[in-house]
């Protein structure tokens, strides 16, 4: 990976061969990253993959064992003080003072950035407005909802106008509505040209927000590219439907066996049957409808969908993204989430 690209522009974040171990645990086993200015990189991986370790090294909180990491052209180890002047960090929990008001929280951060008093005030007002907290500005943060606290936390990370922002699982623990609110805020930051590195274990989140995605697992980058490129890797579209009468599943599988590119898969428990159909999308869909009709199998929600990042993760690692717990134990195959549900489903009508 070249440090400077063809046009001579240096990336906002550059990481090469980064390693870090905690005793026996090799959290990072040599990762490379390059994030061009003004873009959003999604770092996707299950719990314990090494995402937080990478963020902690890049934000000068942790020393790496080997490799190098540069932010805005400065080495995070040798020039940590300089790096701190150009970064912002919002972590997995709201690092705010709950006893203080939203405004007080931001003003204290402003004072720590050595802004002058009037500037501190106006910057706080500006951020409270931008993050939809203006009405709650003078209430203690304790009274805020989880989503509001996380937005305040994000606002706090922006007081110093960072050029590079690190968001470590910004929506973990938020309810779906608060998550969408957070996405809007993150999108607006990206639109303003802030370089963003965002870690997440939610596949749909990376898909929504990131220009480029790297997938890491067990401390290694196992795939990189745009969401689209990653999805293409597992080869085209998927036809999927549910068979309400579980005893008819074998008939359904037989009916579609010939149209698919691979073996159909069926889940006895949920009744979901699916098959990869490569690039033959709509033709395959029509054949499937005819085949199922001829076999007299009743189906629900027959659809052709683009593969989700969940499918990608499954294909790359052999396990679903959220199966694995912090301690590395596998929880079994049942925790698999359908991240792609809402996005690319095109129903057959």
């Amino acid at each position: 990976m070249a440090y400077v690209n063809g046009v001579g522009e240096q990336p906002a974040i550059f990481v090469e061969g980064l390693t870090k171990s905690f005793g026996e645990v090799r959290a990072l086993r040599g990762i490379d990253l390059s994030v061009p200015r003004g873009t959003v990189l999604g770092v996707l991986g299950p719990n314990g993959a090494g995402k937080t370790t990478a963020v902690r090294i890049l934000t000068t909180l942790l020393l790496p064992d080997g490799g190098r990491a540069m932010v805005e052209g400065h080495d995070v180890v040798r020039e940590a003080a300089v790096v701190r002047r150009s970064i912002g960090l919002a972590g997995q929990s709201a690092a705010i003072q709950e006893e203080l008001t939203g405004r007080e929280n931001l003003e204290i951060i402003g004072r720590l950035y050595h802004l002058r008093r009037p500037e501190t005030r106006s910057r706080a007002d500006e951020l409270l407005e931008q993050f939809g907290l203006a009405d709650a500005a003078d209430r203690t943060a304790k009274t805020y909802s989880g989503g509001m606290q996380r937005r305040l936390d994000l606002a706090a990370s922006l007081v110093g106008r960072p050029r590079v922002l690190f968001l470590d699982e910004p929506t973990t623990g938020l309810d779906p509505r608060a998550r969408l609110g957070m996405w809007d805020v993150i999108r607006s930051l990206a639109a303003e040209g802030t370089t963003l590195l965002l870690t997440t274990q939610y596949l749909d989140e990376a898909d929504e927000l990131a220009d480029e995605i790297v997938v890491i697992d067990h401390g290694l980058v196992i795939a990189a590219g745009t969401a689209e490129e990653l999805k293409n890797r597992i080869g085209g579209d998927v036809i999927e439907f549910t068979v309400p009468d579980r005893s008819r599943i074998p008939d359904a599988v037989r009916a579609i066996a010939l149209i698919g590119e691979g073996e159909p898969h069926a889940d006895q428990e949920t009744g979901v049957v699916g098959v990869g159909v490569g690039g033959r999308g709509s033709d395959a869909l029509i054949e499937a409808v005819r085949g199922l009709d001829a076999a007299g199998v009743v189906t629900r929600g027959l659809a052709l969908r683009r593969p989700s990042l969940d499918d990608v993760f499954m294909a790359l690692t052999g396990h679903a993204a959220e199966e694995e717990q912090q301690n590395g134990r596998r929880r079994g195959a049942r925790g698999r989430r359908r991240a792609g549900d809402k996005e690319t489903a095109r129903t057959a009508s």
């Binding site: 000068t60 400065h74 690092a95 705010i96 003072q97 203080l100 706090a156 110093g160």
Partner: protein, 269 residues
Amino acid sequence: MTAIAQPAWAPGLAHRIRWGVSDTLTLTRRSLLVWLRVPAYLMFTVIQPVMFVLLFRYVFGGAIPVDVPGGYVNFLLPGIIAQTAAFATFGTAIVLAQELKKGVIDRLKSMPIARSAVLTGRLVADTGRMLITILIIIGVGYLVGFRFLNGFGPAVAMVVLATVFGVSFACIAAYTGLAIGDEESVQAFGMIWLFPLTFVSSAFVPIQTMPGWLQAFANHQPVTYVVNTMRALALGGPIGDNLWKSVAWLAGIFVVFVPLAVRAYRRAS
């Protein structure tokens, strides 16, 4: 490659000191604001020592014969003040553990602020808190019969000694808070070291009333030396070895625990 050619940002020493002080004061203000904002904190830090004063003065005091001018209440007050200063450090340890867990310390460490400011800000705020509590106890003491018998200067010296003693314990507490990093464990651990040190000392009872093996501990630990010195400053009478032994202990605590606390802060995650 323009950014690489830029000189690293390196302000002069005077600048750094000014910013260090400014950052410390900002964080001190933050901590005191939190303290004032939560009535429960305020109540506990003030009411608990007042309760101790009343409890020992009126409940246990009658049963404890002491040989100081003015009787047990005069014996008691310096002891209660030292105990209060020591117990105030529970707050230091717990708050640091909480901030660590919530990511507040990560946020501050990732910002371009003076590296020392988080710890010094915490210690300055806790010292202020300690001092206010000490003055309140002296006030309550006066209401229940306590009197300084040795003049104004030594009385001030007593308050200063109590505060320095409290700060030394706050350094131990800061280390435990950052090294353990879990609120409940920190609290439990605080009990384990603070209770024996404060109660198995000359703070509440004359050491001669304890069994011999306990006297051996009580006679040679820092709280006893500090309380004896404070008592001599408040009431008059010989200070003897107590002052220099107090100073030696406190200096020893600072020498050991300041670097430990700083190291724990650097490593904290």
